[in-house]
Structure formats: structure tokens, C-alpha cells
């Protein structure tokens, strides 16, 4: 499979994403934000970092980069897009995902391992995650608190668009396990069509034992399986 990993000025997790995808046996290349075309691509990764220095708001400027037109088109055609950390922020700013990411409630930058509970396997990003498997993945963010209004949250719940919640090691979703104050401990969501997703934690940093966890592999394996299976979506 061919992955396009976007690169904005001050993205810094792009190389990690490419490395992880190649490690897992697939093709990945960087696509510069000024490129108007993605080229031959099976899936898009919007990586972490501090694009445009997080100026104005995280992801607020990156969403207007030329490459994002191509990403929007790709997503509109049902293509799989995964935003990680700053990538999640870019996707919410671009309106490809609902809600917004705001400053962590304790105003601290959190660089630590967290645990994720997967709420549904009915998505290209979670299809291969074993039931009950708690994922241990690192986070590194200062603005990871997921916010959406009541109506949006209700809709996300009703349509099973919440993919991951922060939980403790035992899989319990508690306030103590919430590193940033995200509403309903939301760590990651998908769009209504289920082809675009975003999450604050870094699965690309959890693909090698030497780094401390291999649980990120579950998410990438889910994507690989979905791509191999062909179109997974209902026509829009």
C-alpha cells in the first residue's frame, strides 16, 4: 500500500510516520504541503508536530495549505485519512472532523504514556483491534483537550464516531485517566462516513518494542486490512 504523509512547515512527526509504515512493510512517502496533488495514494497520514509554529491556533494555518485541497478531494471520494496529534488538529480546523482541540485543562504539556479503550471495531482504523485490548500509546501535546458542543457530542455517540477514549490500565474510563480534560475522555474520533479519523496519541511511536510499546501496530494493521479488503464504505 502507498501512504502519503503530509509535511507542513514545522511538522515533526512526519519521519516517524514514514518509518513506522515502512517498518510494517508498506510504502510511504512525504508530500510537501505546497504540492497540489497527492500522487498515487492509498491513504493519507496527517502527522504530528507544530505546523506553522501553532500560530493563531494549532492547525489553523496548515488547513489552508494547497495540499489540503487534494486531501479534501481524496476524503470526499472515500479515501482513508488519519490525523495524528497536530494532524487531528488540522483535520478539525479543516472541518473534515467535527469539534476542536483546545489547551489541556491543567495548562501543562503532557508527554507520557496513556491507555486507550477502543469503542468500536466498525471502522478502518479499529477493525483489527481485539475486543477488550487496552492500547498503551504515548501522547505529547499541550492542546489535546477535545471539545464539541452538546449536540455534536450526542451525534458522535449515537453514530459510534468516538473511536478511542482515555482509560486506565484496566480499561476503565475515569477522570484520573484523562490527561487533558477532553470531554468524555475522547482521544480519537472518525467522521460520519468513517473514512477520516483523528487521534491525539501517537501510534507511530508505538510500533517497536525498543520504544516501549507496540500497541500502535493495531491501528495501522486495521488500516492495512481495510485497504486490502477494498471499498469499505457505503456510497455517500
Amino acid at each position: 500500500m502507498n501512504f502519503a504523509v503530509l509535511q507542513f512547515p514545522a511538522s515533526n512527526c512526519d519521519q516517524d510516520a514514514v518509518h513506522a509504515l515502512r517498518l510494517l512493510g508498506h510504502s510511504a512517502r512525504l508530500v510537501w504541503h505546497k504540492d497540489a496533488s497527492l500522487g498515487a495514494t492509498d491513504a493519507v497520514i496527517v502527522p504530528g508536530g507544530f505546523s506553522y509554529g501553532d500560530y493563531l491556533r494549532c492547525g489553523a494555518i496548515a488547513r489552508f495549505s494547497p495540499v489540503m485541497q487534494a486531501v479534501r478531494q481524496f476524503a470526499d471520494n472515500g479515501g482513508i485519512v488519519l490525523g495524528i496529534c497536530n494532524g487531528f488538529q488540522v483535520l478539525t480546523e479543516a472541518g473534515l472532523l467535527p469539534g476542536a482541540l483546545i489547551r489541556n485543562r491543567d495548562l501543562q504539556f503532557h508527554c507520557e504514556y496513556i491507555h486507550l479503550k477502543t469503542l468500536t471495531t466498525a471502522s478502518p482504523f479499529t477493525g483489527r483491534i481485539p475486543a477488550g485490548q487496552v492500547l498503551r500509546v504515548p501522547i505529547a501535546h499541550g492542546e489535546g483537550c477535545y471539545f464539541a458542543d452538546e449536540a455534536t457530542l450526542a451525534r458522535l455517540q449515537a453514530r459510534q464516531q468516538i473511536l478511542w477514549q482515555y482509560c486506565d490500565a484496566a480499561g476503565q474510563v475515569t477522570d484520573g485517566a484523562n490527561p487533558n480534560g477532553a470531554l468524555q475522555n475522547i482521544a480519537g474520533i472518525c467522521n460520519e462516513r468513517r473514512n477520516v479519523a483523528g487521534l491525539m496519541p501517537h501510534p507511530e511511536r508505538a510500533c517497536e518494542r525498543i520504544l516501549g510499546s507496540e500497541d500502535g501496530r493495531w491501528i495501522f494493521e486495521s488500516i492495512f486490512a481495510a485497504l486490502s479488503a477494498g471499498p469499505v464504505l457505503q456510497p455517500a
Binding site: L56, R57, A60, I61, F64, T92, E93, P98, G99, A100, I102, R103, N104, R105, D106, L107, C145, F147, A148, D149, G181
Partner: protein
């Protein structure tokens, strides 16, 4: 011509910075403060001779699309 845009967090959004400043004011001995909100102020200078009506329209659009995030922020625009 100058546009002044004040951006504030929506009421429903958690504002830990505002809370922190509120606590700091209390610690400094200031009383009677019931709430504090931290926002953003943007100044945009426009070329002389710009049509105010057109500028107002364009700036509202810019404020909605880029300068503020309508999911979490409100804005007020003033042209002078």
C-alpha cells in the same frame, strides 16, 4: 483604516487560563472578581482608500474562516 478584532472563548468552552488568572488576582488581594476570560486581539491595517463596506464583509469572512474558530470562539469586529 484599521480593523480591530477581539476573539473570546465561547461560554461553554473550558478556559483554564482564565481560571488561573482569576486565582492569581485573588491571591494578589483583588476582590469582587467573578470571572476571567482570556481571548485574542488582532489588528489589521488596511490600505488607504479601501471601501469600508467591502472591507467589513471581507473581514467578517476572514474572521469566520481563519482568524477565529467558530466551534470554540466568538469574535467582534470593529473598523475605524
Amino acid at each position: 483604516m484599521k480593523a480591530k478584532i477581539v476573539i473570546t472563548p465561547k461560554k461553554a468552552v473550558l478556559d483554564p487560563q482564565g481560571k488561573t488568572v482569576q486565582n492569581a488576582l485573588a491571591h494578589m488581594g483583588y476582590t469582587g472578581v467573578t470571572d476571567v476570560h482570556i481571548g485574542k486581539y488582532i489588528e489589521i491595517e488596511l490600505a488607504p482608500g479601501t471601501d469600508p463596506a467591502a472591507a467589513h464583509k471581507a473581514l467578517n469572512e476572514a474572521a469566520h474562516k481563519l482568524l477565529s474558530n467558530p466551534v470554540i470562539e466568538d469574535y467582534k469586529l470593529e473598523l475605524e
